[in-house]
Every structure is written in C-alpha cells, then in structure tokens.
C-alpha cells in the first residue's frame, strides 16, 4: 500500500477535502475560508490557540455545526453533512474533547448509543451489546472491568477507551479526535498514541486536534495550523521543527521554503 505521502505525490483523490469552509457566530468569523484534506492512513494534526477555530472546523465535518459556505468532498464526491447522523453514514466518527458520554449509562449503552442492537421484536438487546462491548474492550483496553457500572464511575482513561471504542467499533474510515489525551495520565496517553498508530496502519484517516506540539510531531504526517479562524498553512511534519510549528501557532508565520 502506498504511503500517504506517495498518494499525495501521485495526486490521488483525498478521502476528505474540506474547501473554503466558513462559519460565523453572531458576526464573528470562527472559521474563515479554510481548506484542509486527508488521505487514507494519514494523520493530519490541527494546531492553534484556544479559539483559533480548530474545533469549530472539525465540528462542521462531524455534523455538529453547519457551515455557512464551503464544500466537503468524501472520496471525491460532494456531500451534505447537516447533522451527526449524516456524518456517521459517511463513516466519519468523532471522539470529542468533552468525551460525549452519558454518565448515567454503562459502557455498552454508551458504545451503542444511537445505534443499539435490537432483538427481532425491536427491543434493545442489552446482553448482545454487552458481549460486543467486552470483545472490543478486550482489544482496546484489556484492563477494563467495569461493564455493569455507569461510566461516571470510570477513570478518565477508561472513559476515553469507551469513547474510542465507539469510533472503532463502527468501522470508522475517517476519525476525528479532539484532544483525545487532554484528560489522561502519561500511561493512558501512550495507549492512545499506540492506538493511533494501529488505526493508521489499517488505512483510517485521522484528524487530530491537539495543543501539544510534541505529540503532533510524533504522531502526525502533516499539520495544519490555524490562527484567528484562518489557515496559517499546512506543512509536512518531516520538513519542520517544533519551533517552526510554534512560530506558526504564535506568530501566524509560515516557515521559509516549506509548503505541503
């Protein structure tokens, strides 16, 4: 299989193309004419200050917000994404910063929320869902034990594995991770990093939003930097240093002679 870089060099059609996306809230342009793309097996980091518009941009793709103007293409086809259900039908899964779990439900109920397994009579099949949940957790987080307790009783890392399991279980092709390690300790962060490598190897494209420049340098193939709602630039990680990225984030300046 060709690497993401080779695919780009061949001019292959990206899995996701977001072109000239704009969205404003009450006169403030949160995202202004931003274009990003993503190839299979590629991890694209989205960097920027708080309020730079990264999360807003990505929520357009996940269906939580509707763009004012712009175009989204999935595998070259123009698509309309007006709600989270549309995004899911294009195999786009999102792991939110806020973890988007219902605290009062158990892991299996959260894993299948909105897509429950039902019996032939149309009732939810809790036993089947718990069995599936145990299977996927066996792969993702073998230490996970608390299947019958509400997720409010879980640690940050355990909650994160439920959120990740949700994205992985439903065969995401395009995965959006909004600061997936923000609430995690070092060991759990490492677990997420390994998982990203695994998913990448399976040809899943990942948008990774992160504050941590080092994490982005380690995990991503490319990075798109945003500032004040606009795209500063997209760079190949191999061509830049930590300091280059920092100056893009802070000063909004592209490093000399680098373009991706």
């Amino acid at each position: 299989m060709a690497t993401p870089k080779e695919l780009r060099a061949q001019g292959a059609t990206p899995m996701v193309e977001m072109t000239d996306i704009s969205i404003a809230f009450g006169g403030v342009k949160a995202v202004d004419q931003v274009s990003v793309d993503l190839h299979p097996g590629e991890v694209v980091g989205l960097l920027g200050h708080n309020g730079a518009g990264k999360s807003t941009l990505i929520k357009v793709l996940s269906g939580a917000y509707q763009m004012d103007s712009g175009e989204i293409r999935i595998n070259g086809d123009k698509v309309e994404i007006t709600n989270p259900r549309d995004a899911r039908s294009h195999n786009i899964e999102t792991i939110y910063q806020t973890l988007a779990l219902a605290d009062n439900l158990d892991a299996a109920s959260n894993l299948f929320l909105g897509r429950e397994i039902t019996t032939p009579m149309g009732l939810v099949n809790d036993a089947a869902m718990e069995a599936e949940c145990r299977k996927i957790m066996g792969r993702l987080n073998p230490n996970f034990r608390k299947f019958s307790e509400p997720v409010s009783a879980l640690s940050g890392g355990q909650r994160q594995s439920v959120a990740i399991a949700r994205a992985v279980y439903f065969n995401a092709k395009i995965l959006i991770m909004d600061e997936p390690t923000a609430a995690l300790g070092p060991h759990e962060t490492q677990m997420v990093a390994e998982l990203i490598q695994q998913l990448k190897a399976q040809g899943i494209g990942i948008f990774l939003i992160d504050h941590d420049v080092h994490a982005v340098m380690e995990l991503c193939d490319r990075a798109s930097v945003m500032k004040n709602g606009q795209l500063v630039g997209t760079v190949d990680i191999e061509d830049v240093t930590d300091d280059d990225l920092l100056s893009m984030i802070i000063l909004g300046k592209n490093p000399a002679g680098v373009a991706a």
């Binding site: 988007a100 219902a102 605290d103 909105g114 429950e116 718990e130 145990r134 299977k135 792969r139 307790e149």
Partner: protein
Amino acid sequence: MTETTSQPIPEQQKRGLFQQLELDMRLLGMIGAFVILCIGFNILTDGRFLTPRNIFNLTIQTVSVAIMATGMVFVIVTRHIDLSVGALLATCSAVMAMTQTQFLPNVLGLGLDHPLTWALTMVIGLATGTLIGAFHGWMVGYLTIPAFIVTLGGLLVWRNAAWYMTDGQTIGPLDKTFMMFGGTNGTMGTTWSWIIGVVAAVLAIAVIVNGRRAKLAHDFPVKPAWAEAVICAITSGSILGFVWILNSYNIPTRRLQRMFEAKGETMPEGLEMGYGLPISVLILIAVAVVMTIVAQRTRLGRYIFATGGNPDAAELSGINTRMLTVKIFALMGFLCALSAVVASARLANHSNDIGTLDELRVIAAAVIGGTALSGGIGTIYGAILGALIMQSLQSGMAMVGVDAPFQNIVVGTVLVAAVWIDIVYRKRLGAK
C-alpha cells in the same frame, strides 16, 4: 487488531445473602418505609388501616396520580418538569364529560350508555391529551421555551379551558360503561381476579427465567439458582397475595341487593361476593409494565435516559433530542387523559376542581420514588411506590384524625426528608 479475545468475566465470589439476591437496595428501603408506615397507622387506628376494605380503597385512590407519575419520571429524567398535569387532567375530563353528555347525544344521536359512547369518548379524550402534550413538547423542544414556563402557562390555560367548556358546572351522570374505569363500579370479581393473578404470576416467572437464559447465552454471571427461585417465589407470592386481599373485600350486602334488583333478580340469602381486582388497577398495572419496558428495553427509553445524563452527548450521538422532547410530553399528555378517565369515572361526574394540585402530588410521587431532578435517574416502579406512600400517608392521617392543616404539613415535610435521605444514600454509595 484481529484477535477477538473477549474480556474475561470475573469469577463469582461468595457474598452476603442480600447481595446474592441482587435486590435493588433503594427499592427495598422504600418498601421498608412503606411497610413501617402501614404498620404504624394500623396500630394507631386499632387495626382499621390494614383491612381488605381500606387496602382496596387505597389502591383505587392511588391509581390516578400513579399513572401520571410514571410519565412524570420521563419528563424529569430529561431535566424538564410538567406543572400542567392536574390542569390537563381537568381539560381532558371536561372534554370527555361534554363528549358523552352533549356532543355524542346531540350531534351523533348516541345517548348515554350506548355501546359506542364510552369508546368514542375515551378515544376523543386520549387524543386531546396527547395533542396538548405534544404541543407543550413542541414549544419546549423546538421553540426552546423552558418546560417550567410552558407548563406553568399550561396550568393556567388548561385549568380555565376546562372551566370555560363546562361553565364551571359539575357534569354528570356519566356513561355506565365509562364509570367502570373508576374503581368500585368496575371490578373483575373473584374468579377472574384469581385467573388474572395466576397468569400474571406465571408471566413474571417467565420473564425472570428468560432474563437468566439471555445472560447464560452470553456466559455472563448469573445469580445462584436458589436466589432466582426465592425471587420468583416472592414475586408470585406478592401478586397472588394482593389478589387475595382484594378478593376478600366483600361487596356490602345492601349494594349487592341493589345490583341484583337492577337485573330484576332477587339475591340468594346469605350470598357473599368479593370485589376482586378493580379495572382501574389493571390499567395502572398495564401502564406500569408498558412504561417499564419502554424505559428499559426500547431505544426511546435508552435515549430518554441518555439525554437526561448528558444532553450534548445524546445530540452528538445522532439522537434527535427535539423530537424526543415532543414524544415525552405527548406521552405525558396521553397519561393525563388516561388519569382523567379514571378520576372522573371514580367521582361518577366531572367536577370543576378535578385534578386540582395533582401536579404537585405527581411530582412529589416521582421524586419520593427516587427520580432525580438533575436528570438521568428514575424508575417507574419507584414513582408508583411514591404515589402509594403519599396516598397512604394522607388517608392514614385522615383515619387517625389528624387535623387537615397538619396533614399537608406532614406530607410536605416527608417530601423534603425523603429527597434528603436519598441524597445521603447516593453519596454513601459513591454518587451513582
């Protein structure tokens, strides 16, 4: 990523008796409180509280509030409130009273006691309740007006809409078949009650056995067989015990005589007949079963609890929370109409003050039953038990002879204390 090893299921450890039974401790606590209450009143009233007659009356008095309390659980679980249920009950009751006494006789020419009258009346009444409820839900979900405001407005609107429709008059008498849904006027008799009781007990055992099979099919831990057997015995025992109590309340001789006279027969000397299960109680049981299934076994119920636990998560999971709000309030409206049938049939007429302050009784029943106003937590059986506790308190105090003002003071105090105990209990258990 290709291995499919499942999570190992931990070995069952030896545990205490109660833990092996895996009973809901909150439920046990409530039943305990209820039993203490009943025994206390029974002592204070020299044994008049726990007679078949009083238990019969208690159950039929509880039905109307209990039916609405099951719907209020869903409303409160999704972090809303419905202050209009008593007023909505009055409007539905007024609509049904006018339908059977004015509309059907004058427009369609169907008189009272025509076989179609009660059925048409109920269809119109239930549709009215459902539509008004859906309208409330639309204002809450789509216009994003807080439920507190929508239903506070609804309280004033529907209370007075009922008044306007009936000119404030008491409307009666009502259709004979319709009045059978009220309680005393419609009971199954002893034989049918026993049949229903046995069928219910068998069904309950079948449900327990089925649940165990589903767990075993996936190799999940199950309770020891003896524990399941104990629970089966308790469940079927309670069902049959309840039927036995209601069957042992005999229809008063004078009343029985009149019933025979109405049919043009003479009553055999020394005949005794028990009331058995009232139809209104059967309706409540049916509502409880259906609502429990909705809460625990349907997507709708799952989404209601998910939305209550984290509205944003529900929305991001692709749940249409606005439509969900409409459905919840429509269901609440339907149940208000059903309660209106029971309440007006029990009174044998529609009176202008029907359902007054029911909104507070219904909310109190749901809350005493463990529904958390912060959302996401609540059970149907809890709400029904809450309604039963409230009603027992009220009628027990009336029997003991507590002054009217003190009755309400006690009920109010109990409400606050019950919620406080619940908060303490949840904290001990680690914020579940």
